[in-house]
Point group: C2
Chain length 140, copies 2
């Protein structure tokens, strides 16, 4: 998985630095979409001197290459998630703890209806997010 991603980077003519490898590793391991800060923390547990803007720049690079998706939930920070081919999905997000779960499917019907309704709009992307309280945070 990591090896795959790295060879993909190499193909794309991007330098493979230890920092980038580590960011990739963290993204692949992370089960939740992560904020830059979370990623930084994890990367620093191995490479303590990595600066936060290396993280931001790396994520920007990966995003441009399509290796990573950038997500915006209802808080102020961006989250990043590895983009695995054929794994298009949406999220259910806990307002309390910020954790996210994959939704079982995608509102395709709605997307098609919108397409018919606004035929001249050139659709590029879409997002569906459900907000609420996860089982753990419900009681607390």
């Amino acid at each position: 998985m990591l090896a795959q991603a790295i060879s993909r980077l190499r193909q794309l003519g991007v330098r493979i630095t230890p920092q980038r490898q580590e960011v990739l590793r963290v993204l692949l391991e992370g089960k939740q979409p992560s904020t830059a800060e979370e990623i930084l923390k994890k990367v620093r547990s191995r490479y303590p001197r990595v600066s936060q803007d290396t993280i931001y720049r790396t994520l920007a690079t990966f995003k441009k290459l399509g290796l990573v998706n950038e997500l915006h939930f209802s808080d102020r920070c961006r989250r990043f998630e590895i983009n695995i081919r054929g794994d298009h999905h949406h999220h259910m997000v806990c307002i309390q703890c910020g954790n996210a779960w994959k939704l079982p499917d995608c509102p395709l019907e709605c997307l098609m209806r919108a397409k018919n309704y606004y035929p001249d709009f050139q659709i590029e992307d879409h997002s569906f997010v459900i907000y609420g309280y996860c089982p753990k945070c419900r009681g607390a």
Copy 2:
């Protein structure tokens, strides 16, 4: 419309200040969900001394009272929209110019499927956004 909203504020025990009335007016006039900065600019054209934090505070108050919806598109700032009863809707947003259009419907099916899939998650809200290029920005 404005009078309605104001009487609703009064019912809720919130003070009716000129600043708040003006924010309401701007929101009711605005056809697009607006950023705090846009709202501030418009409010200042009548009340030049209004501070930005009054805008933020007012919007937070209105949101708490359910008078206003907060939206998150793919950029980093929040947008606000007047919440008219019975007018639940989602948005189609132009990546270029930032304008937004109301979608004809809501991905209810998808929401229900998610509900069945994660029965212990307490759903509070949801958002569906379509991104792309509007007819005007397509060519440019």
